[in-house]
Subunit: 274 residues, 4 copies
């Protein structure tokens, strides 16, 4: 059984939570003996792989197939494909699953949203510091299902930058992608909302939207990573997306609702090598 | 060192995460040997104490003093007071801290908000099932800093009931408290927003608001637990709140921002015994 | 040609706008000679008929068929039916059409929404005083297409009461209708959103929703006028709605998008006499 | 007495509202005889002056001093200053006052907001066609008190363009101004929210914000008109704003809440000539 990392109390500073690497030493029926090594910081910073392109970001949304322990299972499948194919795959579970998923896998974990707030009186909001400490290395911003006011997108991108979170801002069309790109996020993802969840891939159904976005965004921002999303369901959709000039895809139901998420994700990862 | 519960893979069903009780068997420098017993369900259902009144709910908001490992530390202090004084104290950490806090303490854990959604395409939203599986036993709804449309309050209360989460709905004045109480939540908490965070206790500054709320709510709902909040800072504020007919308090900065949260919370708990 | 009221400058106080009754004295090609009498207050308060039940409220939404001069034309048809059948019919045009419609007809005019604000720095908001001075005698609140936070519904009802506007609060189901009724609006209208615009009348498709609402609302509020809406398209839908215990209907596309709005509205009005 | 335009029923097509020019032919105590000429289209299109820079836009917000007949009075003062000084001054009254104000004055009238919608089922929303037909020639979009999601700003600008409304998009800082400018509105107005309503002019307190905005916006959009706002209270504030590279100001309380709005507005207009 592969070993997973755990949050545990340190012996030397009992009030401080640190993360340990564990090794399975022995196990008997109904009991298990484990030993732990390493600590939180080294795991979070050194061992966590940097984002590389091409990248596949899997958005877990609030699908039951990707909630709680199933979020961990799906993240483990993504990690397996990532390791097997040496492809950068990130997962974006729900807020309450970030800590558990980040402990279970070594691939990058994204929050699905952060609020444009600093610490304070904001009951029910999502603080950048909170998802960061839980183990997120990045965050989606302005997904079409969680759109923000323009000034809040600007503030959220700045917060992400300050807190060391990778920002992936979603945009519904080319002009909004350009506006977004001027705010200097790390990633812009173009996602026509009318195709989300349809299985009709933006890269095949609206290639001109993708190429137009790439062209216009590049005119004003040479560095930003450009993804596309909506309807991505097959390896070929991914291959086409890359050929159109993007550096990866943002996908949700195409993986999460698939009968065999591992196989489809493997197909996606292989398609990035073509 | 007291032992804490952990999320771990079961040997018998490796894909299923369960929680174990652990006992410290031995430890050597930089290593630790542990054994685990028990399982998830027993912990969550049998061992988790039922809510009792009087109750003190501590809302962690997005204060940095109650984020991440500090959320766990504060929850442990609340648990300590709860055990010492046999007072029901619940904590409401941020979404990303629910799992870690729920593993660390045995007192009830609330989410600060749930969205009125069922599983599906709702990026960045908060699913009842998600906070439940992470370990929450209840949720705040409609806090003045995260207010909802009326139809969404209705839907969120129904969802909480279906999913077995205790619902604590906040209301800004007596008439809204009554409207809320008709929707049959478990708890209504009256919190005049102008007093939140001021240190001026609603129970002392606006006792007529509290008594009026209790009177009007009781006319239409005999069962609902009634709390008050806003500005609660001293044991006396709690004692007065109970004398006015409430069954507890909802508190945030009064505890979270206190120099010594343990002492103030202890003062609160003692005040419920007067 | 029947004479209409006009906004005009008073001779005696040139800076003050008042409304005049006019009589057509004479007219020649391309010119018209008119005389004016009466004033603003008498028109608005004395001459404007009180609301009576049964009532039909026609919501113009933002349909092009009911925008600008077409809003006036449709309001005139409603006025014609109202006068012919002695039925209380109110119209709810868009904000920018309230003044023109209120000048053109003598039937009650409702705003489609007011914001829960008092005068001040609220760019782009809808002030109760503003729609009142433009000629509105009432307002919809919390329509399913313009839902409000619970505390804002409470505030908007109170504002309407203070400013002398009739409040008609919409609710999506029986439990929300009851919650709404505790806030003491003048009118509660139950409108299941899934039937809005379908032509499938709530009174025929979900009679139990209507009767249940009437029963539950009456238990806690004896005075409030209860309407139902969604899908009302035929006279029979109106007749059934009244038989189920409501005192009228809230209708939109059934009239506004009808080929012959006058005829359908006449059918509705006749149905209230059955 | 200067003559004003009126909405009236046409003799030849009684159901169609057109606007007439009027001339005061005679008047006797309590009565008035008027003659009308001209029609709606010529007034709206030919006679309405084009926007020119420098421009002063006066936002009436929901101030009681600029509601209903007081909105007309204030607009008349703005028109007087505009004619006396040959300065372009536009007014932005509340939705319900657009029609009355647009009939009373010949200076440009702006809506304070439009919703990103096409005609349909949008109760309580603000349709571009509606404010246009009421007489608006432009609209504010994304004012800090009525902020929109980014995709809605994009949609509202496109709608304004299609419907022939001048779009003036507000932005809270330089980076948001640039993002906004990529969406090709007619006007961008930079307004730091923390200065709104303070009487501390952005042009004097934060000149670097203004110059930085002008510089950055010009790099990506050579045509857009750039305004600044927030705290503009004196003629000198306007003069400085123009010197910093803007082409005018957006002002609200500085005029609306002034003891003598005419004098201050005259001071503003004179300052544009320096």
């Amino acid at each position: 059984m592969p070993c997973v990392r755990q949050t545990w109390k340190s012996e030397t500073s009992p009030q401080r939570l640190i993360r340990w690497h564990c090794e399975d030493k022995a196990s008997v029926k109904g009991k298990r003996i484990l030993t732990f090594n390493a600590n939180h910081r080294s795991v979070n910073n050194s061992l966590r792989p940097k984002l590389q392109t091409p990248i596949i970001i899997v958005n877990f949304k609030t699908y039951l197939e990707a909630t709680g322990r199933k979020a961990v299972e799906l993240a483990e499948k993504a990690e397996k494909v990532s390791k097997e194919t040496k492809t950068c795959i990130a997962v974006a579970p729900q807020f309450a699953d970030i800590a558990t998923v980040a402990e279970a896998v070594e691939i990058p974990v994204f929050a699905q949203h952060i609020d444009p707030i600093t610490p304070g009186s904001y009951t029910g909001h999502v603080l950048a510091e909170s998802v960061k400490e839980a183990g997120a290395t990045g965050t989606l911003i302005n997904h079409s299902e969680k759109q923000l006011k323009l000034s809040d997108i600007d503030a959220a991108i700045k917060l992400a930058r300050e807190k060391g979170l990778v920002s992936c801002v979603c945009a519904n069309n080319p002009s909004v992608s350009v506006a977004t790109a001027t705010l200097k996020p790390d990633i812009v993802s173009i996602e026509p909302p009318e195709l989300i969840g349809t299985g009709i891939a933006v890269s095949k159904a609206q290639p001109e939207v993708v190429t137009n976005t790439v062209k216009l965004v590049r005119e004003i921002n040479a560095k930003v990573t450009i993804l596309c999303g909506a309807g991505i369901s097959h390896g070929e959709d991914v291959a086409v997306a890359l050929k159109l000039g993007t550096q990866g895809v943002l996908v949700a139901s195409g993986i999460v609702k698939a009968k065999d998420p591992y196989s489809i994700l493997r197909e996606f990862a292989d398609a990035t090598k073509q």
